[in-house]
Symmetry: C2
Subunit: 339 residues, 2 copies
């Protein structure tokens, strides 16, 4: 037993290049009205998704995403792969309730909005290591559930600050497999936790940008790659402000990220007309943008190689109320188009 | 790339048998007064662990556990293994704040009180698959932070029900390695999410017992093992009631668990004198009992083979207030004594 796949300090390669054979995305009303509105497998104009609470709506979105995925991939109930999933709700009840009584093996994650990348990274390990032939990566978020948890109940009608981002209502799921065709996972970088003192729960892009930059740098150093090797560096939900901060962090090091960065938070909404201020955020943001848009771009070879960087703000309502800064993290997964 | 290590539906083996070379435990005042009080590496009579809040005390316990572990194992700051960790606090702030600005790679988990088993399972995969030479599994909980989050602030002086369990104040960390000596990981079973309708946040043992039983059965079936193969079946925090329920579930199937079950929740406190009602609970319960007691038992070969079953109640304050039942989960890790 050797660390044959480790590279550098935080990264590893996946020599078997596990395949993402199928993916599914579920999105809410505002997301359906955005630039990617036509890309999603399922959209609903009902923010409750026919449930009694927003939290249960989030559960329902995960169920829908998993259901669509299992139909696309023809997964039998008897041999359901393990699901790596998490969300932003206290104690991740979106994820655990969605799998309740299904008999599906489940490993719960908490990586805040980095969960789509964290779950893909772990699903890649699982398949590459031969522990299971397939594994599913899934996550979700819901605007209304998230607002009342982290900031104010929507009924208060609180004024949003210019740096605020809009939590995406949506869920994405991807099947990582040891066989089949589709985009492939090449390598992964495990993020560290870092912050530069941002304490404003309405400015999460700035809180996450330093972590995104640290992980992108670590990925390049560990794997001996550079910006030239990637068509796009896809960040999860930095939003307009966080994206600009990330670019300026790069400039200080002579790294010109400007043309390569595609932030899901700035792609999922029409920033100038949808009143979302700095852009989209939440676990669902990178999940539906990856599973609704970028994986199709890789499949059709419109993109050849991307670095998917899930960014997460590891705050809680309690830590915010106690005046603590917002630690950020970022996990990165390098993917290539269908071979 | 084949699923060469998979067994049955939910389980896999670790042919290289990753070694738990070092472990550390940190515990609070009440735990230091219990039957295992002398087993822990570090105990404090200050429930705040010299911090301003209970949440930060939990962060501090994780820092202490990691610090003790890294000294024991002589881990250099420059080559720190990735840490799999999680806790019960909203958004797992015990875990993320403990690693903030350390530069240590971190993958966040949410498995409620099953986190010690979930993190060991993932650390085992990581080492076995050659992704990193070592990985750390860590978790914690804090009585006071947990009570005010899930039930009532302690200042209310609420009456505890007879089925209530006492959340352990403590943290445990274990280093899983591809080399060295110590107890070894043999195989793992990924749990499913299940419940039988329990809605009382003061009766979590009963909520988790069905999941514990489902995982123990799946483990035996997947791996072709039986009770005879294990000296002990160690459950995380079922407490007295949950343990009895688990035993009765076994009896219905002709499985006599009575003599083999050792529940950390009933071992960590003196149930008749420490006023903890049904026993201990929380992520820290199985963490300090494993890292303070059972790993030493395996090291000295007092125990030859155990099945460590981390049990988790996947409730949140929100799901309880919304009247929903408590889904439970359980992940199992089979370990053998030093070879």
């Amino acid at each position: 037993m050797q660390a044959k796949n480790m590279r550098g300090k935080q990264s590893f390669v996946l020599p078997g290049k596990p395949v993402i054979t199928h993916w599914a995305s579920v999105a809410g009303k505002k997301e359906s009205q955005g630039p990617l509105g036509k890309c999603f497998d399922y959209t609903s104009q009902d923010t409750y998704f026919a449930q009694k609470t927003w939290e249960q709506a989030e559960k329902r979105m995960q169920q829908l995403a998993l259901d669509i995925l299992s139909k696309k991939a023809d997964i039998s109930k008897e041999a359901f792969p393990p699901v790596y999933s998490g969300d932003l709700l206290n104690q991740c009840i979106g994820s655990s309730f969605s799998l309740n009584k299904t008999g599906i093996p489940h490993l719960g994650l908490y990586g805040a909005c980095s969960t789509m990348a964290e779950s893909l990274l772990l699903a890649g390990m699982t398949v590459e290591g031969g522990f299971f032939p397939q594994a599913i990566a899934m996550t979700s978020s819901h605007f209304a559930g998230s607002e009342r948890q982290y900031r104010f109940p929507l009924g208060y009608g609180g004024q949003r600050t210019p740096t605020a981002q809009w939590t995406v209502t949506g869920a994405g799921a991807a099947l990582v497999s040891s066989y089949g065709n589709g985009p492939r996972l090449e390598s992964c970088t495990v993020g560290t936790v870092t912050e530069l003192g941002i304490k404003d729960a309405n400015n999460m892009g700035a809180a996450m940008a330093p972590a995104a930059y640290a992980t992108i740098r670590a990925h390049f150093e560990d794997l001996g790659t550079s910006l030239d090797d990637y068509d796009k560096i896809i960040t999860g939900d930095l939003g307009q402000l966080g994206k600009e901060l990330l670019i300026s962090l790069g400039k200080q090091d002579g790294l010109d990220l400007d043309e390569k960065i595609a932030d899901c938070g700035t792609l999922v909404y029409q920033l100038d007309t949808q009143d979302v201020h700095a852009g989209g955020s939440g676990c669902g943001c990178s999940a539906i943008t990856l599973c609704g848009y970028f994986l199709n771009q890789l499949k059709t070879k419109a993109l050849k190689r991307v670095l998917f960087c899930g960014t997460g703000a590891l705050l809680s309502p309690t830590s915010t109320q106690q005046g603590l800064p917002i630690p950020g993290t970022c996990h990165a997964v390098a993917m290539i188009g269908e071979e």
